[in-house]
């Protein structure tokens, strides 16, 4: 690992010093050095400007949402909140955190995210490792199966019917099993195992008498930390934000609904016009169903997004060492 760190440090601080004893070359080098510096300076300026611009356009809406969630309701409805909070108040948070549904949703989402991610990573790893071995006999067959299933997807209703016949409806397994293996993730992992880990390492291990399991656990996984953390983060975010599977497969089990589903119910209730209003014949959702307030919404938004950001903050340090997907070997 330290090798890679060193290389990175060097890469970030290229030294322009090159030892050469010949005088004419020195003069030429000096000329090159001047050109480099100017060109490089311009490039540096441009890239810095781009990055600053990026920071602004990304940070602004995020700050806005946070500010809106702690601004007073009055300030929000009259649009006075521009960047910073106006009339700070935690009342929205108090209401939101006292809603039973929110706490229940949190618990469920945590469960789905943790368990779902573990299952997903496990399955994807044991799926990717064998097909990354070039001399694995069934490699092409298995790969073809994965590819075919990736291309053709049956759709919501047939999938529902299958799960139904397995008795998974209204059962937490229906959600855990959905999207259990992401085929594209499998390919990313496979490429990583195949291209970024020297085959010699495996050969050496085989000579020492290690079986494939040990190769996987002791060699492949530790060397793939970066890719693994990326894929894991993909999985975590996917599970955290999902609501559709729970909505369809757990209709009667409200005690298993994730946070995002409650959030959706709250946010969408007032912006959704029912069928009869579209037909022009009624205002079903206007006068006979009550609406939620703006204030609550922003608070709920913050509450449902902040934890996942925290997780990301913890996991992201593994990215430093770099993901080697199809990189050229020296």
């Amino acid at each position: 690992m330290s090798n890679i760190d060193e290389i990175q440090i060097e890469a970030e601080n290229p030294s322009n010093e090159i030892a050469a004893p010949v005088a004419p070359v020195k003069r030429m080098r000096k000329a090159n050095k001047i050109q480099d510096t100017r060109g490089d300076k311009v490039l540096e300026g441009i890239t810095t400007a781009i990055l600053v611009f990026l920071l602004i356009i990304v940070a602004y809406p995020v700050i806005y949402v946070c500010s809106a969630s702690i601004s007073s309701a009055g300030a929000l409805t009259s649009g006075r909140v521009v960047l910073w909070p106006v009339e700070p108040t935690l009342s929205a948070y108090k209401v939101v955190l006292s809603m039973d549904d929110v706490l229940l949703g949190y618990k469920n989402t945590l469960f789905y995210t943790v368990v779902g991610t573990i299952f997903q990573m496990f399955m994807q790893i044991i799926c990717a490792y064998p097909i990354s071995k070039r001399n694995f006999q069934g490699r092409s067959v298995y790969t073809k199966v994965i590819v075919v299933t990736m291309l053709v997807s049956a759709g919501m209703i047939p999938m529902y019917l299958v799960k139904q016949s397995l008795g998974l409806i209204d059962n937490v397994w229906a959600v855990l099993v959905s999207g259990l293996i992401g085929s594209s993730n499998v390919f990313i992992l496979r490429t990583n195992f195949r291209n970024s880990i020297p085959g010699e390492l495996f050969d050496a291990a085989a000579i020492d008498g290690a079986n494939e399991f040990q190769c996987l656990v002791k060699i492949a996984l530790p060397l793939s930390k970066a890719t693994l953390s990326v894929i894991t983060l993909y999985a975590i975010v996917g599970h955290w934000n999902s609501y559709m599977t729970a909505m369809i497969y757990l209709p009667a089990r409200q005690d298993l609904w994730p946070l995002q589903l409650f959030l959706r119910n709250l946010l969408i209730s007032s912006s959704n016009i029912g069928a009869s209003a579209q037909e022009g014949g009624g205002n079903a959702n206007a006068s006979n169903v009550a609406e939620a307030t703006e204030q609550l919404r922003y608070a709920l938004i913050v509450i449902s997004t902040v934890p996942i950001l925290a997780v990301y903050g913890v996991v992201q340090k593994y990215f430093k060492t770099g993901v080697m997907v199809g990189s050229v070997k020296g």
């Binding site: 009055g74 649009g79 943790v114 409200q254 009869s276 939620a292």
Partner: protein, 564 residues
């Protein structure tokens, strides 16, 4: 350290796995033999209800019927619960006994009815004894809508089946297609008289925009604002009806000789669109008019920011939706006199309650629905717990002869209810925040409540505004609207006609609405004759003749049945 964390995670997840797998939902039996009858109600979960079980209305119902009520919650958004329902039906899952508050649309629920998913309730409606409560209430609703509603309840295939249990809310205020308020303070400041026709309105709007009536030195006034579909906020309907009679649900008018014609092809309609385009182009009409249907958006525009100035000049929308409760800003507004046609809509009549095929005891379900239809139930659904504030309630019956806020010297009204607090938009467990499967009469509506003991100037003004608006409306209907013979009633096509002509009708309606949007926004030029004839040609291409033909046929039949 990492290993400990990993181990902990594994333990936690395995434990919760077992916990989650444990409880499977079981459908409780509702055979009356062992214990009380249990009914399962499927309902889109409202975030405004803190607890459905420990709930005043639930307990009231259980007490009155002796049944036990269980809830199965669905997602709140219309598309969401429709999806959930659709997948459940596709998978042959057990549905709850009663579906409450599912806005599926007539076509969809009638299809489900024909497929046997929903129970045909016609035998119950036709059984005098079983449906006595409902009929009694129904006959108290306004007569003009009784006929329409009864017809709409029937299945379109003419089989006489009734698949949906209706919810009818009569309220003179709510069924006004548009309520329009004008900022009198601004009129006074600029020394302008109340406008009485489109041109005068235009001048007033221009003055609002250019002469800075809110006095803050910025041209930030929004002269005219409205929505595209919020309650009593059908701004386009208001504007177009200044020029020609147009009922947005009927699509046709009748001429002297009894033949239907379409207002969408008339020159007056074109004039109306020109007027709207002019307003939008000159920044006098906020563009939300075509896209927004949310009450929150309206409130944003109308309520002045703290220490800020008022922004809205003329507002089209329901009073309670446009103004934040008890906002003194409302004192600046008066009702705009109407000079165009005025339309009432039975827009509070919804067919969103169904009894499903999986209900074991349809008699019990019917009994529950009858209980929900009673007067007391209807009022509880709307206002919450009965009782004085000391008793923890929000409303009581008003004694005979109590003056209502709608009362004027010429037309005294007697109130039925005394309201203490409006809990509709707050989170609570007093009712389901959903008026469903019931009939709420005009007399029981908020507009007819008893004059409160403590009156604020703001509230008094609010009632005055309602009265003004209603009076203006009725005046127009009496004096300006076309005669009854020239107004086309609601046409309910037979299944046969639908088969032949519905596609054409739907296509034409889509064309009409798209072109209207384009003309108003300026994407297509309303002043360009070529664009106009293109529009007419497109209508013809999509089968306008068929639409007209079947509508005419239905109209003739309806008239014959009426007179014959």
């Amino acid at each position: 350290m990492k290993r400990i964390i990993a181990l902990l995670l594994c333990v936690v997840s395995v434990m919760s796995l077992f916990a989650a797998c444990g409880g499977k939902a079981e459908k409780t039996s509702n055979k009356g033999s062992d214990g009380p009858v249990t009914l399962t109600i499927g309902i889109p979960k409202s975030s405004m209800v803190s607890d459905y079980y420990n709930n005043y209305y639930t307990q009231w119902l259980e007490e009155k019927t002796g049944y036990k009520l269980e809830f199965q919650f669905f997602a709140t958004g219309a598309q969401d619960y429709k999806t959930q329902l659709s997948t459940m039906i596709a998978g042959n899952r057990t549905l709850p006994d009663i579906l409450l508050g599912f806005d599926l649309g007539t076509d969809l629920y009638e299809r489900y009815g024909r497929d046997g998913v929903f129970v045909d309730l016609a035998p119950y409606f036709n059984d005098e004894e079983a449906s006595a409560i409902w009929w009694e209430r129904f006959r108290l609703t306004d007569e003009y809508s009784q006929e329409n509603n009864w017809r709409r309840m029937q299945a379109a295939d003419g089989s006489g089946a009734i698949y949906a249990f209706p919810e009818l809310q009569d309220s003179m205020i709510d069924i006004m297609d548009y309520q329009v308020w004008i900022n009198q303070a601004w009129l006074d400041k600029l020394g302008l008289p109340m406008p009485t026709n489109p041109d005068e309105l235009y001048d007033v709007l221009v003055a609002f925009k250019t002469k800075d009536p809110n006095g803050n030195g910025l041209p930030d006034e929004i002269p005219l604002t409205g929505t595209s579909g919020a309650l009593s906020g059908q701004t386009m309907s208001w504007l177009i009806n200044m020029f020609i009679y147009w009922d947005r649900n009927i699509h046709f008018n009748v001429d002297e000789s009894g033949k239907l014609y379409s207002p969408y092809r008339a020159d007056e309609y074109r004039e109306a669109l020109k007027y709207v385009r002019k307003l939008i182009k000159e920044g006098l009409l906020a563009s939300q008019v075509l896209t927004s249907s949310s009450a929150n958006e309206m409130k944003q525009l109308v309520t002045p920011a703290e220490g800020g100035a008022q922004l809205a000049g003329v507002v089209c929308g329901h009073l309670t939706l446009c103004f934040v409760q008890d906002d003194p800003g409302i004192l600046n507004y008066e009702a705009l006199p109407m000079w165009g046609n005025c339309i009432f809509h039975e827009n509070t009549h919804n067919f969103t309650t169904f009894v499903t095929r999986d209900c074991q005891n349809v008699d019990a379900a019917w009994n529950l629905l009858m209980t929900m239809t009673t007067e007391e139930s209807a009022v509880i659904q709307r206002y919450g717990k009965q009782g004085t504030p000391e008793e923890g309630g929000t409303w009581t019956w008003a004694p005979e002869g109590t003056e209502s806020i709608m009362s004027t010297a010429e037309k005294p009204h007697s109130a039925q209810i005394r309201l203490y607090k409006d809990t509709w938009s707050t989170i609570g467990n007093d009712n389901w925040r959903n008026v469903e499967a019931t009939i709420l009469l005009n007399a029981e509506g908020e507009g007819n409540q008893a004059v409160p003991e403590e009156e604020t100037e703001v509230r008094q003004h609010k009632y005055d505004l309602f009265n003004q608006a209603l009076a203006n409306y009725n005046k127009q209907i009496a004096e300006h609207n076309p005669k009854d013979e020239l107004i086309c009633p609601l046409l309910v096509w037979s299944a046969e006609y639908k088969e032949e002509g519905k596609a054409a009708a739907d296509d034409c309606k889509t064309i009409v609405s798209r072109y209207r949007t384009d003309f108003c926004l300026g994407t297509k030029d309303i002043n360009d004759d070529k664009a106009w004839s293109e529009y007419l040609a497109e209508l013809d291409a999509k089968g306008f003749d068929m639409w007209l033909f079947y509508s005419q046929a239905t109209y003739d039949e309806t008239m014959a049945a009426k007179n014959g």
